[in-house]
């Protein structure tokens, strides 16, 4: 209930921002709604945007549930896509596997720095995002640049996800991933250990749980999910890499997960909400000239309103 109220409140606040452009808030809301769920075309756009958001949201949910601050979804998303395009010539499945592996490995850089040097993962994961962005810049301007060498982008990937109507099979994969994540967190011993560590690491340690191992696993799973998001986005939607490929999906995942209260199944609904917001914001930019940054703004507002409603209190 609180979640829905927060989402509605964020929409109201957003629509008021139309005043800054000298337009009526009602008009903005109308464009936002019609541009995201108003037609079959818009709805498909929303679902396509929800897929990466669902996966990065799950990535954040797993990490935060285990008490690990993985803010590195953006970087893991990027290296996932880079790995996917490199492995695409071995087929779609190899490409998807490569994206998960790359995301997990990229995240594990932060894990090892935490375990060996006690470097806080909240900072190392963010720094790794910036490094991944420049790595991507190098790839599309250097070794992976298209054969013509004209634009800073790669050639189309050698493989693509099968189409399902106007959508791609990644939609099913993402839903499958959220069910699997739910099962892992709530129906297995492993998940119990992860959640116990996140709930109270000291108590978990006393109960005989190897807390360091949980950290490694949570970061690995979280990184793999974000990497998979990048792989699916590449193989299902863009088919090429370019400099602004990630488009903030990693950071948006934080808002998606928090709105879902870190629950893997609720993340499906939450990702559709933010997918609609992003798609609607794109329409705003096209038809009304209102910056699509309203989507980022909306994510922040949702998180802050959720805090006000007291659903994300300090855990001390």
């Amino acid at each position: 209930m609180r979640q829905i109220a927060a989402a509605v409140a964020a929409l109201v606040l957003l629509s008021l921002s139309a005043l800054a452009f000298g337009r009526s808030p009602i008009e903005l809301l109308q464009i936002l709604v019609s541009g995201s769920i108003g037609s079959q075309f818009a709805l498909e756009g929303t679902l396509l945007k929800s897929v990466p958001l669902l996966l990065t949201g799950l990535s954040v949910a797993v990490a935060f549930r285990a008490g690990v601050w993985n803010i590195g979804g953006e970087g893991q998303f990027i290296v996932g896509a880079i790995a996917a395009i490199m492995a695409a010539r071995f087929g779609v499945i190899a490409a998807l596997a490569a994206s998960m592996l790359a995301g997990a490995l990229w995240a594990s850089i932060a894990t090892s720095m935490r375990l060996w040097r006690n470097a806080p993962e909240v900072l190392t994961t963010i720094l790794l995002n910036f490094i991944a962005i420049h790595l991507l810049g190098w790839c599309v301007n250097g070794p992976l640049q298209e054969r013509g060498g004209q634009y800073p982008q790669t050639d189309a990937a050698a493989a693509a996800l099968p189409q399902v109507g106007e959508l791609h099979a990644g939609v099913l994969l993402a839903i499958l991933a959220s069910v699997a994540t739910w099962f892992l967190l709530y129906r297995t011993m492993e998940g119990l250990r992860l959640r116990a560590t996140g709930f109270n690491a000291r108590a978990a340690k006393w109960a005989g749980i190897d807390v360091d191992r949980q950290l490694v696993r949570a970061m690995g799973i979280s990184g793999a999910l974000a990497g998979l998001a990048g792989g699916i986005e590449l193989l299902g939607v863009t088919h090429r890499l370019f400099e602004r490929f990630a488009a903030g999906y990693g950071y948006s995942g934080i808002a998606v997960a928090l709105l879902a209260q870190l629950h893997p199944l609720a993340t499906i609904a939450s990702s559709i909400f933010f997918g609609a917001l992003t798609t609607g914001a794109g329409e705003l930019q096209r038809t009304a000239g209102i910056s699509s940054n309203v989507a980022t703004f909306g994510e922040a507002v949702v998180i802050l309103i959720l805090i006000l409603f007291g659903s994300w209190r300090a855990r001390d």
Partner: protein
């Protein structure tokens, strides 16, 4: 090698002045027990409001005032959630960064994608700002933190909040000091180092600042040494670029972040953070 470093030092010192201001601010706020991840958004907002204020008044000083005002506004939002409502500081900081990114991007586009500074900051004014940031402010902060009753209580709010009356007041003050410094840093970035505002122009400086605070062990001297070290190391990317040894430009852009990772990993031994940090 020494030659190269000596040559790079003055440039590094000017270029990392905004960073140093942010490090100083974050150090104060962490001493009071708050991790402000939102400093990135604070600087970004300040960079924009500084340019807007300078545009309106054609005065650099007013630009700085505008930057500080913008940072104070962001600090107020952060404080309401993280201090008043005791929300998780990392979640709040992340939300603040998204908020600042969205809002500044929004205004930037509304301004037609062009927010240039009205005029460049004079070299004399830049020197004054650099001297303030590297000498006067650190000295003042050291005196405040270690030689005044206010500083003692501010640190106590970060070590053992139960022992202090009016913990919130000290945390709010620390946050205001941070906004003052990070705001000035954002203004310096936009008005002196760049010729205006560009989307996401802080490029992670806030996060680098947080890393240096840890590296410097929450001490004024550590903040200065850490920032200078970072400045020289990050400046290597330009030296390497000029030497043209074939390292690709895009990979050189990642140098500052790699350096910061190394700095974070270089915290040998046990680091003692303020006891109540993050709570």
């Amino acid at each position: 090698m020494i030659d190269v470093i000596l040559h790079a030092l003055p440039i590094a010192i000017v270029a990392s002045t905004p960073l140093l201001l942010a490090v100083e601010g974050e150090m104060v706020v962490q001493r009071a027990g708050i991790i402000n991840l939102g400093i990135e958004g604070m600087m970004l907002t300040a960079a924009m409001t500084a340019v807007l204020a300078q545009h309106a008044t054609e005065s650099v000083l007013a630009g700085f005032a505008g930057g500080i005002l913008g940072a104070l506004l962001v600090a107020a939002i952060f404080g309401v959630f993280a201090i008043r409502y005791r929300a998780d500081q990392i979640v709040t900081g992340t939300a603040i960064n998204l908020l600042a990114l969205g809002l500044t991007g929004f205004v930037y586009q509304a301004a037609g994608g062009a927010l240039f500074a009205a005029s460049a900051m004079s070299e004399a004014a830049q020197y004054v700002a650099v001297l303030l940031a590297w000498i006067a402010i650190p000295a003042a902060l050291a005196v405040m933190l270690w030689m005044t009753r206010f500083g003692l209580r501010l640190r106590a709010a970060g070590e053992n909040p139960e022992a202090v009356q009016h913990v919130h007041a000290y945390r709010w003050s620390a946050l205001a000091i941070e906004a003052l410094l990070a705001g000035a840093g954002g203004a310096f970035l936009a008005l002196a180092l760049s010729s205006g505002f560009a989307e996401n122009m802080t490029a992670g400086r806030g996060f680098i600042a947080l890393s240096i605070v840890i590296f410097g062990r929450w001490k004024v001297r550590g903040a200065i040494i850490g920032t200078a070290l970072f400045g020289v190391a990050a400046g290597l990317q330009y030296t390497l670029q000029a030497m043209n040894i074939g390292l690709p430009f895009h990979l050189l852009l990642a140098v500052p972040y790699v350096v910061t990772l190394l700095i974070l990993c270089g915290i040998a031994g046990r680091v003692r953070a303020p006891e109540a940090l993050g709570r």
